[in-house]
């Protein structure tokens, strides 16, 4: 049996797995990424909202803390990534923009709900601005005239996740990180310890992309550490409380951008958002469906997204449909990610990011790096203070008595 030995192996080549591998490679650690189709899952579907403030809900204060901490890390993360990938200005290369999110309300009921949310946000001392309907339309003239009011979260940002994963793949290539295009069939174990991964047979199976001839890829990769970043599929490899939550999302295209910032709102009680890109792309998202590993694009999903988006911005129906995909978010019971030591030596988790994978990527890489260096008795000490508290919120230990 062919066996490869490395220090770290990252299972999963979505935005989280690729970013973890990139950060490890930057630290000079030999790392390998395994994924049958990198950058094609939830990261390919995601809108890339970096909007911890406008995403706030009454029961999810911990998620706000994680999001805010990760958003602060995004500018330096983007700058380092753009440099390593050989790209120019990071903001342009990744379409990283920090122009804020505008949450709008139409009916009197929606307005009352928005007022209540604004009061809650003020209590949390979040920087939000309450706007009248006309103020909203001065900021975003394409909004429907019936908009009654809005809430601007000026610090919220967004990024193009497809550009981020492309940049990560480029950076990994330049750093010489091997990318094994194979599905991981299981974890290798030696007693209590996880010692690597076993690769699946079959078509689309093995083959090192970077080095070595395609036909004789390794069947096993032995590693000192395995980082599980397999998103919605993480529960297939390990008994984890991670489930797929389907999201259908549509990309439209116009010669000129229709909006200057992210716009979101409730329509018939369902949330919808519109994310503008610099190149005229407009992302409409997203459904939330509990349908297992189903990734079919449906007529109902398409219809509901367009119907709701059109209520907010009537002009959307004039745009070209560029793309409609369904992705699978890795959902957890409390909507918080699972990051850190898995409780089994040799295994670190970086999964369960649900709707926040892109936003939480920089923070995730920090937490995983801390966990790996702590496990190796390295220079980094176990974090105290804020990062330590954030690590505690994401710790897989919180589910261990039940799972």
């Amino acid at each position: 049996m062919d066996v490869t030995d490395v220090m770290d192996v990252v299972v999963g080549g979505g935005v989280v797995g690729l970013a973890v591998a990139w950060r490890l490679a930057r630290e000079g650690r030999p790392v390998t990424v395994v994924d049958p189709a990198p950058a094609s899952g939830a990261s390919h579907a995601a809108a890339g909202m970096l909007a911890p403030v406008s995403e706030v809900t009454y029961t999810e204060a911990p998620l706000l803390r994680l999001g805010a901490a990760s958003l602060r890390r995004w500018p330096s993360f983007a700058a380092e990534l753009a440099a390593d990938a050989g790209l120019g200005d990071p903001a342009r290369a990744l379409d990283l923009r920090a122009d804020g999110t505008l949450d709008v309300a139409f009916g009197a009921d929606d307005l009352a709900a928005l007022d209540e949310l604004a009061a809650f946000m003020e209590k949390l001392e979040l920087p939000v601005e309450r706007l009248t309907g006309r103020e909203c339309r001065r900021l975003e003239p394409m909004l429907a005239p019936s908009v009654r009011g809005g809430l601007l979260a000026p610090g919220d940002a967004w990024v193009d996740p497809r550009r981020v994963t492309a940049a990560l793949l480029a950076a990994l290539h330049r750093l010489g990180v091997p990318l094994v295009r194979a599905r991981v069939a299981g974890l290798l174990r030696d007693g209590d310890r996880v010692t690597g991964v076993r690769l699946a047979d079959g078509p689309g199976g093995t083959g090192l992309q970077e080095s070595g001839p395609r036909e004789i890829g390794p069947r096993e990769i032995r590693a000192a550490n395995v980082v599980l970043a397999a998103g919605a599929w993480s529960g297939e490899l390990l008994d984890l409380p991670v489930r797929p939550v389907k999201g259908q999302i549509m990309r439209l295209r116009s010669p000129q951008p229709l909006l200057g910032r992210c716009v979101r709102g409730m329509v018939h009680g369902a949330p919808v958002y519109l994310v503008p890109r610099g190149d005229g792309e407009l992302v409409l998202g997203a459904t939330q469906e509990e349908l297992g590993f189903d990734t079919r694009v449906t007529a109902g999903g398409l219809y509901e997204l367009l119907r709701d988006a059109r209520e907010l911005v009537p002009g959307v129906t004039e745009l070209e449909v560029a793309d409609m995909v369904a992705g699978l978010r890795p959902g957890t019971p409390d909507n918080l990610p699972l990051i850190g030591p898995a409780g089994v030596p040799g295994l670190v988790l970086a999964t369960g990011h649900h709707r926040g994978g892109v936003l939480l990527t920089p923070l995730t890489t920090d937490l995983v790096l801390d966990a790996l260096t702590a496990a190796g008795g390295g220079a980094r000490e176990t974090e105290t203070g804020e990062t330590g508290e954030l690590a505690e919120l994401c710790s897989p230990r919180r589910f261990q008595e039940t799972s």
Binding site: Y58, T59, E290, L291, G292, D294
Partner: protein, 251 residues
């Protein structure tokens, strides 16, 4: 509290929960626990009953009976299809029949609902139809063989309470199947009122799942349903125009 019996099956809780609108499965789980519910309705559209870790797992873990519903259906045909899929997937012949007439009000369509109810009863389903607060329709559905009737207090998710208590009383008076107040509950006093009017149970979701503290509101609803039921059984005093001294003449 005295037991609630629907189609020969007994429940010691008279609070039936819905799952819609919960921000996370953990929040839902805590709310269900606090509510003490033994019967919870789940929308079957956009749910794969075979998927691991779904809302159904949360209910199974708590040993709560699942009442599949046909939310999102606009025609009797769709409702029938959804009910049959639910029966096959969940192994239950119970169904909360919900056929809505339009998206803005989500009010039930009486014609489609009756049509579907008749056909589902014929296929051996235990049918619990969601209807407007219409005493005549409630009676007709009971005659058609429904196991309960579920009149609304106000539109779904509106939290407007019971807009026409008189009609709810008329439905209760005439019914010999359980009457379950469904939709419109905003806060605990609405649930208590439903029970005081003589309803056999209350079904609610949004009032709990979208509350700022869902588990606390669930506990409030549980207490309100119990209080309202006890008040109904106790028999309230008649309303009087003027005061009546309570102390001097009696022991």
């Amino acid at each position: 509290m005295d037991e609630l019996t629907i189609a020969g099956e007994s429940f010691s809780s008279r609070l039936i929960m819905g799952t819609g609108g919960a921000p996370s499965l953990d929040v839902l789980d805590q709310a269900l626990e606090a509510s003490g519910t033994e019967l919870t309705t789940v929308a079957m559209r956009r749910l794969d009953p075979a998927a691991r870790g779904s809302v159904l797992d949360v209910l199974r873990k708590r040993d709560i009976k699942v009442l599949p519903n046909t939310a999102g259906c606009f025609t009797a045909g769709e409702a029938l299809l959804t009910a049959r899929l639910a029966r096959e997937a969940l192994g239950t012949n119970w169904v909360k029949l919900e056929v809505i007439s339009d998206e803005r009000t989500l009010l039930p369509d009486p014609i489609e609902t009756f049509d579907a109810a008749e056909r589902l009863v014929a296929e051996g389903f235990v049918v619990l139809p969601y209807i407007g607060d219409d005493p005549a329709l409630a009676r007709r559905l009971e005659q058609a063989g429904c196991a309960a009737v579920m009149p609304l207090g106000a539109p779904i998710g509106s939290g407007l309470g019971i807009r026409n208590p008189h009609n709810i009383e008329l439905i209760v008076e005439a019914a010999s199947v359980p009457v379950i107040l469904d939709a419109g509950i905003g806060t605990a006093s609405d649930a208590a009122l439903a029970m005081e009017l003589g309803c056999d149970a209350v079904l609610l979701a949004t009032a709990v799942t979208r509350a700022q503290r869902p588990d606390t509101m669930a506990a409030a609803m549980r207490a309100a349903v119990e209080a309202g039921r006890l008040a109904r059984l106790a028999g309230r005093i008649p309303r009087r125009r003027y005061a009546e001294a309570s102390s001097p003449m009696t022991p």
